[in-house]
Symmetry: C2
Subunit: 89 residues, 2 copies
Amino acid sequence: MQNEIIKVSSRSMPKLVAGAIAAVIREGGIAEVQAVGAGATNQAVKAVAIARTYMAAEDVDIICRPMFTEITIDDVEKTAIQLNVEKII
Amino acid sequence: MQNEIIKVSSRSMPKLVAGAIAAVIREGGIAEVQAVGAGATNQAVKAVAIARTYMAAEDVDIICRPMFTEITIDDVEKTAIQLNVEKII
């Protein structure tokens, strides 16, 4: 299973993003959740918090590693926050 | 070493918060980083990303567990994001 990039905007619904994260974790992958800006980062963190409750119900503990990453949007380079979300073994 | 609560606002400086997180980790504790609102949560996540680089230089990997928590500010109950930051053993 490869890592999967999940892009989040300030208009993303945290519950939907949480479902996408949980799907990647269930398949044994690492969800790389990317957000640019405070509103998007807030939705991304809420999504991980919700995904943790989904996975806790399946007795799976997930953690995240936040880091900075450079991404290109419309030919403009921007600094994004990336949350690598994975299962703790 | 007890857990330590670190409160972050939208005006907090991520590098200073990162230093506070790193200090708790070095003492063997868990940093409970709390933020209310998108701006504060964004600064909190940036702080954890920076703290990860500080600790990586010391060969220590730190992760975070985001969750929702209820806190009281000026007698008003608010939902905060809490990032439990700890060392991976």
